[in-house]
Amino acid sequence: MKPPSENHDLTRWLDGVMSDAERSAFEQHLAEDPALSREANALKSLRADLRTHLPAEMNVPYGDFFNSQIQVRLAQEESRRVSDSAHSPVAKLLHWLKKPWLALAGTAAATAVLTVALLRTPDADSYSRILSSYTPDIRVEARSFHDDAAQATVLVLDGLDEVPAERKVSGINVHRSENEPEIAATALFDAGGKRLLTISRDAVGNPQFTVTPPRG
């Protein structure tokens, strides 16, 4: 076994970190020691192959899912943070609903996502399971998660226009019916109790998104 200093010299020579004088002296040493020279050449060849076969960048399997899962985690953390400060599941839910991304203008995207939400399976008593989401507007990203504290499935629509300042969502009513799914509806109200938005389905299951015109 060679002393550590010789191993270190070989390593530094392979990595090209020797000074000119050090390299020259070491290569002279290699010329005088055929066994060391063979070892050095073998390791040099190995090192070149390592660089070839260990890519610095790799394709991430299911890259889009990778990103969306991170976004879901970030949304969950934000939700928890708000919950900790508000100490109220209702307040937290309203906080989400008041976010700019829940815009009345984004009816198409919201309709698509919430339609899926309304299609609850009868055995899913404790939560709604979102199997898929689709937004016709590619600028809008839809994602969902179940918030245990609020006991609600939170639907996040990112990329919609901001809610007009005068449209303050202050209340929400969810009407569910397992036997008559067509009458299930979600309504959003302002502080005066005026209905701002209704999300429902028609008799054949197509989504309906009814926006109440502004006062005036």
Binding site: M1, P4, N7, H8, L10, T11, R12, L14, D15, V17, R38, N41, A42, L43, S45, L46, R47, D49, L50, R51, T52, H53, L54, P55, A56, E57, M58, N59, V60, P61, G63, F66, N67, Q69, I70, Q71, R73, L74, A75, E77, E141, D158, G159
Partner: protein
């Protein structure tokens, strides 16, 4: 892993995205994830040699980065900063795994018997096609890397994949420069032992 120059337009974009992320813009952060996920995933994959775990750890690294973003002062490139987080996340995972009995590394034990337990593949006929031979060699190198101890794999990845200087490796691990050189030497020797049939032909 060199930081791009301050005038590099790519880095300017990073700074913009980081600032927006720090202000809470998750879409800006998503753009950073898209940009660097391939490099972070490659690092975690090379270190632990398991696709599923590497995928999860890469995600964890980005989430930790998001949490730590408010404290990021832009005094290093975003990637350098992110890489350090990802490395720590991965190495913490490896440490826990070793505590749970899945690891085995001991410098004192392994460095003096580099050949012990080394596996070789019997020599076969030369592959008729260079591309096939190259692909086979790549697979064998990956398999050999997977058999290295976590510490040896770590220095090989940091040096050969990321191109870090000894000083950078020493700071990241952390350990002394002498330990970096020793680990590099023995890691390469162990790889050479495992791929003996390939590298004996060069003798």
């Amino acid at each position: 892993m060199s930081a791009p120059a301050a005038t590099d337009p790519v880095e300017v974009t990073d700074i913009d995205l980081v600032k927006r992320s720090q202000a809470g813009d998750t879409r800006a952060f998503d753009a950073l994830v898209t940009k660097y996920r391939g490099r972070i995933y490659a690092m975690t994959y090379h270190l632990i040699q398991n696709e599923t775990e590497a995928w999860d750890l890469a995600q964890e690294a980005f989430i930790k980065a998001w949490r730590a973003l408010p404290g990021f002062k832009l005094d290093a490139s975003f990637y350098t900063w992110l890489y350090r987080i990802a490395h720590n996340v991965t190495y913490d995972w490896l440490r826990k795994k070793r505590i749970q009995g899945d690891g085995e590394f001991d410098d004192e034990r392994t460095e003096h018997r580099a050949a012990a337990g080394a596996e070789t593949t019997p020599k076969g006929d030369a592959a008729p096609d260079a591309a096939l031979r190259n692909a086979e060699l790549g697979a064998r190198i990956q398999a050999a890397i997977a058999k290295l101890s976590a510490e040896h794999r770590q220095v090989i990845v940091l040096r050969e994949v990321e191109g870090l200087a000894y000083e950078e490796i020493a700071a990241l691990v952390p350990c002394s420069l002498g330990t970096v050189m020793s680990r590099l030497f023995y890691a390469r020797k162990k790889l050479q032992e495992q791929l003996k049939d390939v590298y004996e032909t060069t003798l």
